[in-house]
């Protein structure tokens, strides 16, 4: 994507492409970003003074309604599965890009984006539903930490979709020959990272009660 010919054509000390090294470096830095958000979530787990709670039920004092544990685990398990499959799809798309198999590249890259979009759609639905049930950013600590952590993850997915979408457009316009497959590979590395982070978030928020 970034046609940094300067970085691309210069022989490097290690022989590795500088852009690939840069994305790995950036991912290393992002680990600390998510580690801080996740730690905050864990430190504040179970410290909410009022509901709705993630797993326990709560009676809303305003209208007497009982809100059961607010997390919809089957739905999120499904969108998690879809997101993981999109990581698989982007690997196949990269395979296509590296070997000049245009149909494979465009098909699997489209599939990757559909997977990402379904995940994001699930998150939009979930956020809407939660707000409807009375969980907002400022309702309790769970709301503050949950929306901030998963929201920033969703933001990363959105950036990934825009990035992959841009690569898809260049592929459709026939401007992603095998020698430029690295443009996809870098985006794919970022995409995998976003998926891996989600596995951690999903486990800690949804699976561990």
């Amino acid at each position: 994507m970034s046609q940094d010919a300067h970085a691309m054509h210069m022989p490097t000390t290690t022989g590795l492409d500088s852009r690939k090294m840069a994305i790995w470096t950036f991912i290393g830095s992002e680990c600390l970003f998510f580690a801080s958000l996740i730690s905050t979530y864990m430190v504040y787990r179970g410290k909410s003074l009022t509901g709705p709670y993630p797993h326990e039920s709560w009676t809303n004092p305003a209208n007497g309604e009982v809100v059961k544990g607010i997390l919809n685990i089957p739905l999120t398990s499904f969108s998690t599965f879809v997101l993981l499959m999109s990581s698989f799809a982007v690997v196949l798309a990269l395979y296509g890009a590296q070997r000049g198999k245009r149909g494979m590249l465009i098909g699997w890259l489209s599939a990757t984006m559909v997977g990402g979009a379904i995940f994001l759609g699930g998150q939009v639905y979930e956020f809407n539903h939660f707000v409807h049930e009375g969980l907002t950013l400022h309702q309790n600590l769970f709301g503050s930490t949950f929306f901030t952590l998963t929201g920033f993850h969703g933001g990363h997915v959105t950036v990934g979709l825009i990035w992959l979408g841009t690569v898809l457009v260049t592929a459709i316009r026939g401007k992603l020959p095998p020698e430029k497959a690295l443009n996809l590979e870098i985006a794919a590395l970022y995409w995998h990272f976003v998926d891996v982070i989600w596995i951690i978030i999903f486990t800690l928020i949804y699976l561990i009660k």
Binding site: H6, S29, K47
Partner: protein, 606 residues
Amino acid sequence: MATTVLDHAETHAHAKTGLWSWITTVDHKRIGILYGATAFLFFLIGGLEALLLRIQLGSPNNTFLSPETYNQLFTMHGTTMIFLAVMPISAMYFNFMIPLQIGARDVAFPRLNAFSYWVFLAGGLFINISFLFHAAPNAGWFGYANLTTKPYSPGPNVDFWVIGLQTLGIASLAAAVNFFVTIINLRGPGMKLMRMPMFVWMSFITQILLLLAFPVITVALIMLMFDRVFHTMFFTVAGGGDPQLWQHLFWVFGHPEVYILILPAFGIVSEILPVFSRKPLFGYAAMVFSGAFIAFLGFGVWAHHMFATGMGPIADSFFAISTMLIAVPTGVKIFNWIGTIWGGSIQLKTPMYFALAFIAMFIMGGLSGVMHASPPADLQQTDTYFVVAHFHYVLFGGSIFALTAGAYYWFPKMFGKMLSEKLGKVHFWLMLIGFNLTFMPMHFVGLNGMPRRVYTYPAGLGFELLNRLETIGAFILAISMLVFVYNLWRSLRNPVPAPADPWNGATLEWSIPSPPQEFNFAEIPTVHSRDPLWETKRARGGPLPEPALASGKDIHMPNPSFWPLVTAIGVITTLTGFLVGFPYVNLVGAAILLTGIFSWAFEPAG
């Protein structure tokens, strides 16, 4: 000689000048100069703030500054000196010197480099614009929650601080990725890791610290901003939030930040001492590993800033021990510096003066640092002027002395002119005397109980004389800076060009003309040892001839671009939206940001 004149004319035929060439530049040397000039201006502003503080404290019960103005000035002094002066002055040296010292033509991502500078400039201006509204940040450079949450800081002051710092963090992270990759991947032939100049090594470790520490403050600032704008409860006690979380996150960033400020200084001094002692650096490998060890330990000591919060004996003991442990690799460095000058043929030039003073001043700062590694001692010293004395001895006596040493050392390379030795020594003595007169008495008033961050003190507590001396010292420091500015101005107007290698240097930057040509090296040099230029001179049996200017016709350099600037404007506009006009300003900013990124991605880089 004839060829030199010819080449000279040819090179200047397509030399790029004018404002637009600076706005669109992607040349690491120009970006370095931009960093340096901007940071030096901020440094003078931060110094002016300190002078005002010292005038206020020069006599008891003074009314020169109101308490509110005092709060704004000490907050801005700290914030400015750390984020807008010392860090970007280090960034000037990273930019200018890393590619030259490793034998590269530029950094790995020249446009990203320009982006870093523009974002830094935007963040610096953003924080300082708050003065126009008399709403400068006023809660300390550490921004402790819940003092900084909305109920206790209702004005826009803290928003300026949060958004400004967030912006500066983006600049630092982008630059850190860039230099990290540059040092790993753009080293010339033969420049193995263990042959890199010590400045490159210490810069490399600094980039790792930046990459791992800044995301933490990014998250802390996001949470504080959310508390202020969206009423989240991260630091709201009424909602179950814990203000101490801020302190933990801030210092997990804040302590590595201390090493981000000092490691480049270590690197600079490790370049200067060997050259002016005519001896290779003593204990090269020990220097590398002690630097790495300091950085590693730096992530395990953050809570020594929090002994007064009552963390309990186990946490206190752990952090006390890990903090004291840092004295070991730091001591290794000091002994190696002394080992370097020991028995050397010492040339007492201005850079050497500052480098030697750095060692002495830094040892004093280090010793007082070890003193408050002990929790019981720290409980007496915390929030007093003793701490102020300590961190000025490491940050001013350490970082600023070393950065100034670097200025005298590398100015000829950067601008092609020599700084006056005579003025340099006047600068040195005034700075050394002014510095010690300002900060030495702070140890004593601090131990006698004078609290920091308080706008005045009553008469009769025994603080008057020492505070008056400190204020006089601050003015001597200010005069030393005027001498430095005059020296800079005089040298830049001086028509006599500096030679390529005025100090008999050991590293690659001295093998090329002063100032270097756009492409740095007409031919990328091959390196066979740690002191490549000394080796070449030894083989030749004497000094090298002045290098000829090359035409550089066949050398391919990246194109200029203004998209980094547009992208930086997008960043600051997006973030400004959290202060005014949420969410419309944010959306406009995001649109500019996307335009910048896409135009950047699809323009030919050259």
